[in-house]
Amino acid sequence: MKKFLSTHGRTLALAGVLVLLLGLLAYVFLRAGPLAPVPVTLATVESREITPALFGIGTVEARYTHKIGPTFAGRIKRVEVQPGDHVKTGQLLGEMDPVDLDDKIGAQDAALKRAEASVLAVEAQIQEVNARKSFAETQAKRYEQLLVVRAVSEEAVEAKRQELQIAQASLSAARANLEASRQELARVRAERDGLIRQRANLRLVSPVDGLVTRRDADPGTTVIAGQAVVEVVEPGSIWINVRFDQQRALGLRAELPAQIVLRSQAGEPRAGRVSRIEPHADTVTDEVLAKVAFHQRPQTLPPIGELAEVTVALAAQKSMPVVPNASVQRVDGRLGVWVIEDGSLRFAPVKTGATDLEGRVQILQGLSDGERVVVYSQKALDAHSRIKIVDRILGKSS
């Protein structure tokens, strides 16, 4: 009896082990092999409005940048400002070395004085000639009268008349001389003024109230005509030069509200507005360029060239069936979604419309509200896939 029980027990134990193994094998085949169902998650198609938005990156730029430099080649004598300095309109920023310009102005000063003296000399000459002329007139008149009473000879009267004519001619010549001297004076004065202007042109002055952003050369440096020494921007003209992908830029226009996130202040969005869309697009990068201005100028000026992320909200689209973009698949070259019908899969070709940044896609055609579509799947699906509907594919931990 004992022997029997023992044999019976052993049979049971062996059978137990075998059943356990076979059970595990069945589990393995059904859960891990090709027969295993694919876990999928579902979403219900529902109509809703979506607000497409446009995301682009850009750099902080100033609308007006004044590059101030000399108009002649020369050496820099001094630069008065440093980057970060605030300057006023007309403030001296720096000066070029005048080399011999001051000496030239000195020479012109002397020439001017000389011209003035020469005018005085000619004026004195005119006085002298005038005196001579009035004497000659008197003499001529007297001799005329004496000739009438025959007190002098005809010849003597002729001589006096000639003296008068000579005096008159001398006066004309002296007057012409005065005019020439005055013109000379004007010329010298103009030349001197020109030099003084040139001298003033060597001073680099700020054309606007603004902020010095660059100082490209230091005293002693030789710069060529037109090369910038100092750069001044107007802080009020700060805006973002943004690049948007052309593919999604439909509906982008000026005046749309925008959100600006500066890289240095990530997480702190600022309100802005699209100022203008550039008439030229970037042909190399296939991007549309736009300028986005701040609503309110930042307290501290962001560095020119800082990276900024700009999100522009486009006009809301009218209510339409919407699915997550993860559910849209391409099968045999056709775009569509996997629809669950009576527990089995059906591929429904769709036409997609606008998308928003949260990954919702409008379905223009092919789906209607209330249909259940596959969003996530453990692996690529086909029409014969066995599926298992789950809440999430990944565990809570991830």
């Binding site: 076979l22 995301f55 993860a326 849209v328 998308t355 996530y376 991830s398």
Partner: protein, 404 residues
Amino acid sequence: MISLAGRDILHAWGKFIFTGVGLGLLIGVTLTMAGVYRGMVDDANVLLDNSGADLWVVQQDTLGPYAESSSIYDDTYRGILGMSGVARAANVTYLTMQVRQLGDGKARDVRAMVVGITPDGPCHPGQPGYLVDGRHLTRGHYEAVADIATGFALGDHIQIRRNEYTVVGLTRRMVSSGGDPMVFIPLKDAQEAQFLKDNDAIVRQRARTEQNPALNRPGVPGLLDAVIASQSTNPSVNAVLVQIEPGADPDAVAEPIRRWKRLTVYTRAQMQDILIAKLIATSAKQIGMFLVILAIVSAAIVAFIIYTLTMGKIREIAVLKLIGTKNRTIAAMILQEAVALGLIGFVVGKISATFWAPIFPKYVLLEPGDALRGFVAVVVICVLASVLAIRAALKVDPAEAIGG
């Protein structure tokens, strides 16, 4: 009639089961090794699948983009889009690198293949085919979709070169041919990542340029800036992925691109050949060789176990012969025991391989075909081994039962 084999197994069932389990673990290792080999090949195949491409357009005379580096201008795709039979074409870049996860206590490096894709509309070539969580890329910058093998979670911040990206989607089985998980980022960022390197490298590059007298001439202001600006742009991508019109012949579409665009074009079959015959050939052969040796060793061990198991019962067999048991009955007993042992071994092997396969860092693909082949092999080996044991058992002298 009672089953001699059954009685014998019941007699020492514990020993039998443990031998079977031991054998099974060995078979499990062999099956796993086959799975490792299949997984390598499958990695190469999924790389082709998940690119979603029918044609790969790469630099002329290169085996790019997976097996060799290839570089073409990023506006090449426009010309390709105009060719007949082409439905969609998209630029793509591939760069295997360390991706750094940011965050307190989470900072770590993950080796990944960074794929730059154009986030244009759903299911554009290059985009991951399916997701397990999150969403596809919608912004043109600073978003990433990662394979779950990277260990990243939704909302994680990762750093690729100079920029920080937010993980917005997770996918699965998107790996490079080397098995590195993929991280998908927008193309423009990827181009920058491939070219711009880190800040230090950029600063040094600028310094080098400044020191070059030909590029930094005193009389030409602006030249240096222009040179530096041109150095920090990269108009290249690694390949253009092309999807062809439904029903079009890939070779017929590829030929004009090869001829008129002077680029190299691979069809799926050619790309598969490159990946499997060239890229992973050596390492696959390495694993394959190991698999062959392991299979031979396993077969030998199975045979020895059955032989020794039979030899351990030689006295009992001698008694059986002594009491006049037929040779056929004894042979059947040994054969049945051997096959039963093999079956238990196979079942244990299959179960253990299936359970430990997911723990492997790289993909292990256990194919039903391999399991079937393994099953047949196990049965055949058991039968062959039992033949040896039967020969030995039948030769035994019944007198040993008494004399031994």
